[in-house]
């Protein structure tokens, strides 16, 4: 049975990123304006001196300890487990073992961080290289390492649609609840820094050698980041059993495709426009109802103008407050939708609008300017979070207070 209008509640959030190893630390950094990018420290790369990145400030050993895994697995899995664990802890669902529970994760890197080490030896001699370095290469394997550690098995899958991956994972989780397939879902995504992605983005010449400046007229590109972000979604029925009934729902969502180019967004941002307007429609909201947009805002010339143009088309003349938190965390690729979902929930819970750092000269073609300073005690009832990726995959989520 499908209950298309059933509210889906956010019972918990979990996060690890360049600005903090858990929700409270990230919130503190957002409030203090403390960004997470800097010189490359953990990742080994030929571009070490040139490209700043936004790394999680823990080595793999330290992450494994935090995650509680006995052996070092892919950093992508470690990040995922830390954040997913926090989300479940926060949700505090005591009878979770009696409920149908799902784990919907997302990643673009998967176990590539270990595979690229395997290849160093394998390429010169294909009988060389440690198989244990590639056994968890697949995106799905990383998800299962985490699902097994969490003890979740009723429904597990992995979404991989580049930078919109975890936004897609989150609303898939909500739909699984509405379709009565699961009662509880841990949904979001993870990605760790890897040479493969760093070099890939470098060949596209969209990486900034300085700290990125999304929505600035002179923006130069993105800074790559890493991390994981998950929400625990629950059905109305489960929400009613909790001591403190959650006050935030996933009210809207939409997945649309730009169908313009493999990596670039269309100049008028049609995919972004359709994703945002579709999410509003699903939520039964008007554009004026949105209090805050957590922008995709990567800092590339192309994304920001496409996203900005779509926002202009949809929201003019009532522009909500907006900001790109990638100015703090860098672009965390497959994890960005999940991390930014957590930030959206924080904005609702704490009545805050997070700032768009390092914005010096607003874009001349846009009639709005993202917030440069943090706003506290703001009325935040509905937050729109955008995630736009390669392949034209555009997804938008709306979180609302009930």
């Amino acid at each position: 049975m499908l209950n298309n209008n059933e509210p889906v509640f956010v019972a918990g959030t979990g996060i690890i990123s360049a600005i903090g190893n858990k929700v409270a630390e990230c919130l503190d950094a957002l409030e203090s304006g403390r960004a997470g990018m800097g010189p490359m420290h953990y990742l080994q790369s030929a571009h070490r001196q040139r490209l700043p990145v936004a790394e999680v400030k823990l080595s793999n050993d330290e992450l494994a300890k935090l995650a509680g895994l006995p052996r070092i697995k892919s950093r992508t899995a470690l990040l995922s487990l830390v954040a997913a664990k926090e989300a479940l802890q926060q949700a505090g669902i005591e009878n979770i073992k009696d409920l149908r529970t799902g784990f919907i994760s997302a990643t673009s890197v998967g176990g590539m961080d270990k595979t690229e080490n395997f290849f160093n030896e394998f390429l010169s001699d294909n009988s060389k290289g440690k198989l244990r370095d590639v056994i968890n290469h697949e995106c799905g394997s990383v998800t299962e390492l985490v699902a097994d550690a969490l003890g979740i098995k009723d429904y597990i899958t992995t979404v991989s649609t580049a930078c919109s991956s975890s936004a897609n994972a989150i609303f898939l989780g909500a739909r699984l609840i509405r379709n009565n397939i699961v009662d509880v879902v841990v949904a979001g995504g993870t990605d760790s820094l890897a040479r493969f992605t760093l070099n890939g983005f470098n060949t596209l010449m969209i990486v900034d050698e300085q700290f990125c400046q999304p929505f600035d007229e002179n923006r130069r590109g993105l800074n790559l980041g890493e991390g994981a972000g998950y929400v625990v979604l629950i059905s109305d029925k489960v929400a009613a059993t909790l001591k403190n009934k959650p006050g935030i729902i996933l009210s809207g969502y939409c997945n649309a495709n730009d169908a313009y180019h493999q990596t670039a967004s269309s100049p008028d941002g049609i995919g972004s426009y359709l994703a945002m307007s579709g999410a509003l429609k699903k939520a039964g909201l008007k554009s004026e109802d949105i209090d805050y947009i957590n922008l995709h805002g990567t800092g590339t010339q192309n994304n920001d103008i496409a996203e900005g143009t779509a926002i202009k088309r949809l929201f003019d003349p009532h522009y909500p407050k907006m900001s790109s938190t990638k100015t703090f965390t860098g672009h965390t690729l497959g994890a960005s939708g999940g991390i930014e979902a957590v930030f959206s929930v924080l904005a609702l819970q704490h009545g805050m609008i997070f700032p768009n750092l390092r914005l010096q000269i607003p874009m001349v073609d846009l009639p709005f300017v993202p917030e440069r300073e943090i706003i506290k005690n703001a009325t935040v009832k509905h937050v729109l979070s955008n995630s736009f990726g390669f392949g034209g995959n555009c997804s938008s989520l709306i979180f609302s207070k009930v």
């Binding site: 060949t203 596209l204 010449m205 493999q262 670039a264």
Partner: protein
């Protein structure tokens, strides 16, 4: 200059995997992008790498691409000018 242009045509075909195109099919002054050969922004990035690999010339600003890669002749002129500088 003619030899350079002829070499460039062969290299472009190889780099961009233009399987059904022969060097003779590409005119010296034929537009490479949008019309003519119909190349796009990803091809421009590939050509930037080609310049570096084959001619040791670094085009650090992707925005110069459209000018430099307008035709095979403009590419050849750019290469000649920069090789003279480096010499």
């Amino acid at each position: 200059m003619d030899k350079l242009m002829s070499d460039l045509k062969t290299q472009i075909i190889a780099q961009l995997n233009l399987q059904d195109t022969k060097p003779e099919d590409i005119g010296d002054d034929q537009p490479l992008f949008v019309e003519g050969l119909g190349l796009d922004s990803i091809d421009a990035l590939e050509l930037i790498v080609l310049l570096q690999q084959q001619y040791k010339i670094k085009l650090s600003n992707a925005e110069d691409g459209p000018k430099v890669f307008k035709t095979v002749r403009t590419m050849a002129e750019y290469i000649t000018a920069h090789q003279a500088q480096n010499a």
